[in-house]
């Protein structure tokens, strides 16, 4: 029910960190991404200026019409006038079309490139990164930050070009018409700019509060809905609703407060436009009276004076956007600069290829002899040593079981075998050579992994089952499905292998997902098979069937079985018993039972539980 929870994990306290100051507003960090589009950027620059110039030229037409036709009473050149006007219009439209399209193009492509780069980079990062950063956080980096940056780069740039050139251009025209009058108009600008900047700053801050409140309100909904049962049993509906209404009230207040500034902002702009206009009317009118300036010119001048404020607003807005987007740039570049804890050396990459372009021809066959040699290990985000000078030989085909209570740290060894983490000290040997001497992809291509919380990808059953072996035939797939008795599940789904599994496999139960992910691992025909509590959610009958199949499936493969239910691991070759993150006992079932230690007590307790369960 609470699928939405991952989306908003940003703690409210962290919000204050959003003020980030970067040199050059962080734009320099984007240069590699911008360089690709320098042609388009250049077009934006040139045609943007052209567009503005046309904007500046348009009032001159009215001026000409008034001064030459209306006042003088002759309209002999009217056809040429119309022709010139249409031509200007077309230039403007073409220029605007091309610039806006280019701006959108650059926006989208930079977003696209950044998304792809981030995504690709994430494929190479080690697990410690994913353990330290929630899915929601990383997801927001890929999806929203990158889009924001694209938007920033292209539209802030476009706005700056348009509005700067308009302001500069119209000032030049005004000064050339009448310097003194122009100077009077320009005097208004700093005052207006100051007011605009103050309002914008206040507004940005309030908008931030509004966003926070917004996520608070969604959070309230989430809590009110996922916690419905508890709310009802505690009869705190009124209290919770009351608190919710406090939040919505706060939202209302903040939004209204923000509107004070937004209203002030736009009122300021329109007011100062008219102040500039009035100035021209007054001083310019006097000049016109003296016949120094013509009426059409006066009217054009008024247009310029009045038209100065809007571009001013958008220019300042662009700057404030730039300031606020630094945080997005910072977050994305930080992600891209994160180095993987587990990385192949240059020599290894040279010989075996990297994640995206493997050199399969150089890959040796993997047999599955694994050895831990004096391995010590501490999780990157932890302090405690979970393995200390641990040594173990796992010859090819051995079945290793790892048992212990939930949360005891049973996955550690497997994480090391799969090279999801590297040992802090010591080595893990695969077929007699240090795992680090071969590429990660080489190893991973030979591993089949079945997770406790199975993960399927949206798409068809077939796509999912072929995940580890893209060219698997339908026969192979059905064969594997039968082995884990999941064929019935797929048949039930209506469209057989073409049935959709839904987002994250949502259309299936956890047990069904486990069965399918088991089949997926078998189809990959791996040399090393890892079953991480793979059957915890299937019913007892199915589990028994799988148990029986396990012998066949693990034959010839080195396998690691992480199990909570001990009855499932009795015939493993070695059982490692984990308690509080450490391996406390190891041996076969018989040896361990004889020892009367921790394993023995775990086993008897579970045996009793299972016996009870079978009764009820």
């Amino acid at each position: 029910m609470n699928k939405t929870q991952t989306e908003k994990k940003t703690p409210p306290k962290k919000k204050k960190e959003e003020y980030v100051r970067l040199p050059y507003f962080g734009i320099n960090r984007l240069i590699p991404f911008l360089a690709k589009y320098r042609g388009r950027l250049l077009v934006m620059l040139i045609l943007g200026i052209v567009g503005s110039l046309v904007d500046i030229a348009l009032p001159l037409f009215q001026r000409y019409a008034i001064d030459n036709y209306i006042t003088k009473g002759i309209a002999d050149t009217l056809p040429i006038f119309i022709g010139a006007y249409i031509l200007t219009l077309i230039i403007q439209i073409v220029a605007n079309c091309i610039t806006t399209y280019n701006a959108s193009h650059v926006e989208m492509m930079i977003g696209h490139d950044l998304k792809q780069t981030c995504f690709d980079h994430l494929q190479t990062l080690s697990f410690s990164y994913f353990n330290q950063n929630s899915v929601g956080y990383v997801h927001a980096r890929i999806m929203s930050d990158t889009s924001r940056i694209g938007e920033l780069v292209s539209w802030v740039l476009m706005d700056s070009i348009w509005h700067t050139s308009y302001i500069v251009g119209s000032m030049i025209v005004m000064f050339s018409i009448h310097p003194l009058l122009a100077a009077a108009v320009v005097l208004v600008v700093p005052l207006a700019a100051l007011l605009i900047a103050v309002c914008l700053k206040k507004l940005t801050q309030l908008n931030r509060n509004i966003r926070e409140l917004n996520s608070q309100i969604s959070g309230d909904y989430n809590e009110g809905i996922t916690g419905a049962k508890t709310i009802k049993t505690l009869v705190i509906e009124d209290k919770i609703t009351g608190e919710f209404m406090d939040d919505t009230q706060k939202m209302r207040k903040t939004s209204v407060r923000a509107t004070h500034f937004r209203g002030l902002l736009f009122s300021t702009v329109s007011f100062f436009s008219f102040v500039a206009l009035a100035l021209v009317l007054w001083r310019g009118g006097l000049i016109t009276e003296r016949q120094v300036m013509e009426i059409g010119t006066l009217s054009a001048f008024m247009s310029y004076a009045q038209g100065l404020m809007d571009p001013l607003l958008w220019l300042i807005d662009a700057v404030s956007t730039l300031i606020n987007t630094q945080v997005n740039i910072e977050r994305v570049t930080k992600l891209l600069q994160t180095k993987s804890d587990v990385a192949d050396t240059k020599e290894v990459v040279e010989r075996y290829g990297d994640t995206f372009s493997p050199k399969r021809e150089n890959w040796e066959e993997l047999h599955g002899d694994i050895a831990f040699e004096d391995v010590s290990f501490t999780y990157p985000d932890g302090e405690e040593k979970v393995l200390e000078h641990f040594s173990l030989k796992v010859p090819q085909g051995t079945r290793v079981a790892i048992v212990g209570e939930t949360g005891a740290g049973k996955s550690t060894l497997v994480n090391l075998v799969c090279r999801f983490y590297e040992p802090t000290e010591g080595r893990v040997l695969i077929d007699g050579r240090d795992a680090r001497e071969r590429s990660q992809l080489w190893l991973h291509s030979n591993i089949g992994y079945v997770l406790q919380s199975p993960h399927l990808f949206s798409g068809s059953v077939r796509d999912n089952l072929r995940y580890g072996k893209p060219d698997a035939t339908d026969e192979e797939i059905w064969e594997a499905l039968k082995t884990v008795s999941a064929d019935a599940v797929v048949e039930r789904m209506g469209k057989g292998l073409d049935s959709e599994v839904g987002e994250g496999g949502d259309l299936l139960s956890t047990g069904e997902k486990q069965l399918l992910s088991f089949a997926r691992a078998i189809i990959a025909d791996p040399r090393i098979l890892v079953l991480d509590e793979a059957t915890s959610s299937v019913d007892t009958v199915t589990e028994q069937i799988i148990q029986n199949a396990l012998g066949k499936v693990t034959e010839g493969r080195t396998s690691f079985l992480i199990a909570h239910r001990l009855s499932t691991v009795r015939d493993a070759d070695v059982i490692l018993v984990v308690k509080d993150g450490r391996i406390v006992e190891q041996g076969s079932h018989a040896e361990l039972m004889k020892r009367h230690g921790y394993y023995h007590s775990l086993y008897t307790r579970q045996f009793e539980q299972e016996a009870v369960e079978s009764l009820m």
Binding site: Y221, H596, V612
Partner: protein
């Protein structure tokens, strides 16, 4: 989160018109002020071009004034146009003053529009939240959280935008256009008519393109959703991706969708650029027509330069709003869908107490009388269960998964209701049918600890004290002490102020359960239910908590649900449930005396296990040869038991 937006839109419920009125409660006044002020703004916008026209034609030029008579007489009092010629600043001041008043109204217009919108959205949100809180629990089980939240957030926003932006902007634009046209017609009918004729073209064009772009937008949105889902899946499935070495495949998958999404956007951008370009062209052509016609009109002597300038200004006030109007009209349909989706929620029937629902004392005997129950669309789960619990006694319920033991207490708490026609039997407390009681009163008097406790995202103290206003810290700590949580909490750096939940520390399962117990204890209810609520704490703490509870429960009637006989053995009465049937009941002693009874068998298995474990612990520690003797063990357990 599934995007099954279109689903359920056809079901009836409250008609959208009435729903709108319901939502508009409290914000109608603000909307009215907002519309009135926008009328004022539009009217004031008409004034300044007239001042300029007057200045140009009558002050600088020498035409007779075209202003209304009262204005002329006012000007005459100042000395007529000639005097103004010397004092142009008066006219400039007039412009500034009009601008100032107009700015104030503009500000007020925004302010009131926001007030209206925010009040509206608050009304909607509060109404929805309150309604959701009063819906029966069965409704919650039937609906997906993600879908409901989406309705409460984005659909609410859509409706708000419709009312506060689209609808008001349509009104504002209509007012502005009407006023501009009125003034233009008063200045020159022929020119104004020419201007009017061009407007429908611009309007239709904008509406048409707006619609076209709208559907493309939805396309882009959907594809962004898909892209986002791929990223999400990749991140949540990172282990699978790595373990199968499928990074490259993932990259291609993401790239394909990324490319598709981007190319859709680029296509849309092209369309938009063309749209804006064409729009500019239309507006530009319109200006050109009026400019040319205006020049001819002036040349014919029908219009003065000042009037021409003013007319051009009014004309420029038409084009943009009309273009916006076109877009807005094309977007109006969205709100209807959202309103229907909200109406789905709001028309779901809320929990209702029966007429004359009572609030009797709940310290009486509790009787389940032939209770049968099935969840919606499921086979019957409880097949006629009858038993009686004496007031103040402790009853244990033993049963496996799916035996219906939790459902029994849900029914007692009326999280689910038995059929109203009595076909599912009834439950009485002190002889009164619980269906005749006020549901909230009943729940308030049943302290229930759920199997999977839910804590709210706030401090620990606030969580424990959530059931009552301003619970003193001492009582909170006392409750925590009984639940054996106090010590743990004190070991936290921030103690009881530790923030729990999504945005705070993650408590372990056992800590959560203990916090839930403490929270329930503050209710001081006469009936207490522990639904397998100590499953996540270790045996030692389990015993300690039970001991504490025993000495603090007083005269409460207690339901203990568990699958461990050791938890239940001291209960006054024990019920054994198996697949929805009550298969055995009695005291612990009676049940273990029953030959071949289910309880006895379970007890024996568990006791054997427990003894062996204890034996091992003892042997592991010191003497391997000796196990703890039976009497000692009895004594130990006796110490834990409830007197």
């Amino acid at each position: 989160m599934k995007r099954n937006k279109e689903k359920n839109t056809k079901t009836g419920g409250i008609p959208t018109g009435r729903l709108l009125l319901l939502f508009l409660k409290g914000s109608k006044g603000f909307f009215a002020v907002s519309i009135l002020t926008s009328l004022a703004v539009a009217a004031l916008d008409m004034v300044n071009p007239q001042i300029i026209r007057y200045t140009v034609d009558s002050v600088i030029g020498s035409e007779p004034s075209a202003l209304p008579a009262f204005v002329n007489s006012a000007i005459d009092r100042l000395g007529g146009p000639a005097a103004l010629r010397e004092k142009l600043w008066i006219l400039a001041l007039a412009v500034v003053l009009v601008a100032l008043v107009s700015a104030v109204f503009r500000y007020l217009q925004r302010l009131y529009n926001t007030k209206a919108a925010e009040t509206l959205v608050k009304t909607m949100r509060d109404r929805l939240f309150r309604h959701i809180q009063s819906l029966p629990f069965a409704w919650h089980m039937k609906h997906q959280t993600g879908d409901i939240i989406q309705r409460c957030t984005s659909d609410v926003d859509t409706v708000k935008n419709f009312l506060s932006e689209q609808l008001t902007s349509v009104l504002r634009i209509v007012i502005q256009v009407a006023l501009s046209l009125a003034v233009m017609y008063s200045m020159n009918i022929r020119l104004a008519a020419a201007s009017t004729l061009t407007l429908p073209v611009i309007l239709l064009y904008s509406a048409f393109f707006g619609k076209k772009i709208g559907s493309r937008f939805r396309d882009c949105d959907e594809n962004e959703g898909l892209l986002s889902a791929i990223a999400q899946e990749n991140l949540t499935g990172v282990r699978v991706v790595r373990a199968f070495g499928r990074e490259k495949y993932e990259r291609e998958r993401f790239r394909a969708q990324n490319d598709k999404y981007t190319s859709l956007w680029l296509k849309l951008s092209k369309l938009m650029a063309a749209f804006w370009g064409m729009g500019d062209l239309l507006s530009g052509a319109q200006v050109l027509i009026i400019l040319t016609l205006g020049v001819q009109t002036c040349l014919a002597g029908e219009m003065k330069p000042g009037a021409f300038i003013a007319f051009m200004t009014y004309n420029s006030m038409l084009s943009w709003p009309i273009r916006r109007l076109g877009r807005t009209i094309s977007e109006l349909s969205k709100a209807g869908i959202s309103l229907r989706r909200l109406s789905d929620i709001l028309s779901s029937p809320v929990e209702r107490d029966r007429e004359n629902a009572c609030e009797p004392d709940l310290h009486g005997d509790i009787v389940f009388d032939n209770v049968r129950f099935a969840y919606e669309d499921c086979p019957e789960l409880l097949h006629g269960i009858s038993f009686k619990v004496k007031a103040g006694s402790t009853v244990g319920i033993l049963g496996g998964t799916g035996s219906g033991k939790s459902t029994l207490v849900y029914l007692l708490d009326r999280l689910y209701e038995l059929p109203a026609d009595g076909s599912g039997g009834k439950i009485t407390v002190g002889g009164v049918d619980i269906a005749d009681m006020r549901a909230r009163y009943l729940r308030k008097n049943i302290g229930m600890v759920l199997q999977e406790p839910y804590l709210f995202s706030r401090s620990l103290a606030d969580n424990i004290g959530i059931t009552r206003e301003n619970l003193p810290m001492e009582e909170i700590r006392e409750a925590a002490r009984i639940a054996c949580l106090d010590e743990t909490v004190c070991s936290f750096a921030e103690g009881y102020n530790t923030f729990v939940g999504e945005r705070g520390v993650t408590l372990s399962g056992g800590q959560k359960q203990r916090a839930a117990i403490a929270r329930m204890l503050t209710e001081k209810a006469p009936i207490l239910v522990f639904d397998d609520s100590l499953s996540a704490v270790d045996a030692e703490t389990d015993a300690a908590i039970r001991k504490e509870l025993d000495s603090h429960l007083g005269d409460a009637t207690v339901f203990l649900i568990s699958h461990r006989t050791s938890t239940l053995m001291n209960a006054d009465w024990i019920l054994v449930l198996d697949r929805g049937r009550l298969v055995e009941q009695g005291t612990h002693a009676a049940l273990i005396a029953a030959e071949n009874g289910l309880y006895r068998r379970i007890y024996e298995i568990q006791r054997a296990g427990a003894e062996e474990e204890k034996g091992e612990e003892a042997s592991g520690r010191e003497d391997p040869g000796e196990t703890t003797s039976e009497p000692e063990k009895e004594a130990m357990e006796g110490g834990e038991s409830r007197e």
